[in-house]
Symmetry: C2
Subunit: 223 residues, 2 copies
C-alpha cells in the first residue's frame, strides 16, 4: 500500500513552459486528505519549494537542488555545500559560454548555469574529471556534489518515516529523476517522460504534463 | 477599461492557511489570455514570488516584501535596502519577544518577525519613533523603510506600462493593502477583507479566499 509519494515538479506537474496543472494540484490535495504523505523533489531552489509547499498544501518535506537541501516544518537542512560546484562554475566560465543562473543566489548546495550547445561536451568531460555530478533538468544545467541526487532524498524520506520500498511511489519525467527510478520502489511517469525514465517505470500514463497525476493516483489506489 | 490587475496573494488568492484557490488561478490565466497584465504584490520573499510567477504563468512583474523588490524577466530590482529594518529588529530582539522569521535570509529590503501579543504596543511605538514602516500581514510583522508599501509598487507599474489610474484594478484583503486602496484606481476585495479595506473598495465580493476572483473579474469584464 502506498504511504509516501515523491513527485518531481517541472514536466511532471507542469507543462513545457512550467505552468502548473491545476488538475494535478487537485489530485495531490485529494491524496493528502487520504493520509498519504506527499513530498516534492526538484532541481529548483529551496524558497521556491517552500512556496510550492505552502500554496499547494504539501504535507511532507520538500527538497530543492535535486535532493541536496530539505525544508520541513520551517526548518531548512542542507546535506551538502556548494564550495566545489561554485569553484567548478568559476573555472568553466573562463573558457566556455557557461552563464550563471540568477537563482544561484538562493542555492546552498549546488550551482545552476546555461551554456551554448557546442560547449556541452567539453563541460561534461571536465565535470566527470572533477568528480562532481552534472545533470540537465531541461531548464538549466546543475552541478552538484557526488551522491547528491533525488535517490538520496528518497532514502532520507524512507528513514524519516520508517517505511519500506514497497510503500513508496515516485513520479518523474526527466533524466535528473533517473537515480530515484533505479531504486526498488513503485515508479510511474507521464507520456512526456524521457525514454530512459519510461524504461524504468512500472506504469507509464498515456497523459502528459500533470494530467497523468489523476491517472497514476487511480492506478495506485491513492485517491 | 482595465489593462492591469494588481493582486495581493495571502487571503486574497488563498485561504487562511495559505492554500491557493485553483479557481482563482484558472481565472487569472483567463484574464491573461485576454491580454490583461496581471501583477502580484505580496509581503513574501522574492524567490517565492518568482515561483508563483513561473507556476501560475503571471505575465507582469511580481513584487515581494510589500513592494520593496520587483522581479521581471529574470531581473531582480530592489528599491530599498534592509540596513535600518535589520538594526531595528536586532534592537527590539534584546528587550521583547520578537523572533526573526526563517524567511529573512531571502529578504533584501525588509525583515519579518513574530512576537507575543503583550509586546505589540511597545514595538509599534518604537517603530513609529524610528521612522520605519511596520505592518501586520497576518502571517508575520514586517518592518520596512519609509515609503515602502504596495502603493509604491502600483505607481511603479503605472509608469512602466504608461497607463492611467482608471486602467488599474487592485484586489486585496488586509491592512497591509491599505496604501494601494488609498489610490484613485479601481479597488475590489473578497468577503474576508478587513473593514478598512471594505470601506475603501469600489466592489466587495460576497465570496471569500480566492473564490471572489471570478466574481470580481466578471464585474470588471476582464474575463
Amino acid at each position: 500500500m502506498i504511504k509516501l509519494i515523491v513527485l518531481d515538479v517541472d514536466g511532471t506537474l507542469t507543462d513545457k513552459i512550467r505552468k502548473i496543472s491545476l488538475d494535478a494540484i487537485e489530485n495531490i490535495r485529494k491524496a493528502i486528505s487520504n493520509n498519504i504523505v506527499v513530498s516534492l523533489v526538484s532541481g529548483n531552489v529551496i524558497p521556491v519549494m517552500f512556496g510550492l509547499k505552502t500554496y499547494i498544501g504539501i504535507n511532507g518535506p520538500v527538497f530543492g537542488e535535486n535532493g541536496g537541501i530539505m525544508l520541513n516544518d520551517s526548518k531548512i537542512t542542507p546535506f551538502f555545500d556548494k564550495t566545489l560546484p561554485e569553484q567548478f562554475l568559476n573555472e568553466i566560465s573562463k573558457t566556455t559560454s557557461a552563464r550563471e543562473m540568477f537563482t544561484n543566489k538562493w542555492r546552498e548546495t549546488s550551482v545552476a548555469f546555461t551554456m551554448d550547445e557546442e560547449d556541452i561536451k567539453t563541460v561534461l568531460k571536465k565535470a566527470s574529471e572533477s568528480g562532481l555530478y552534472i545533470v540537465d533538468s531541461k531548464f538549466a544545467w546543475h552541478i552538484m556534489n557526488k551522491g547528491q541526487n533525488k535517490a538520496f532524498a528518497v532514502e532520507h524520506l524512507k528513514k524519516l518515516y520508517g517505511i519500506n520500498n514497497s510503500d513508496i511511489l515516485v513520479i518523474g519525467d526527466s533524466d535528473n529523476d533517473l537515480n530515484m527510478f533505479e531504486l526498488d520502489v513503485h515508479k510511474a511517469s507521464p507520456s512526456n517522460a524521457s525514454q530512459n525514465i519510461k524504461n524504468l517505470s512500472e506504469y507509464v500514463s498515456k497523459y502528459p504534463y500533470g494530467s497523468e497525476i489523476v491517472d497514476i493516483f487511480e492506478y495506485y489506489n491513492v485517491i
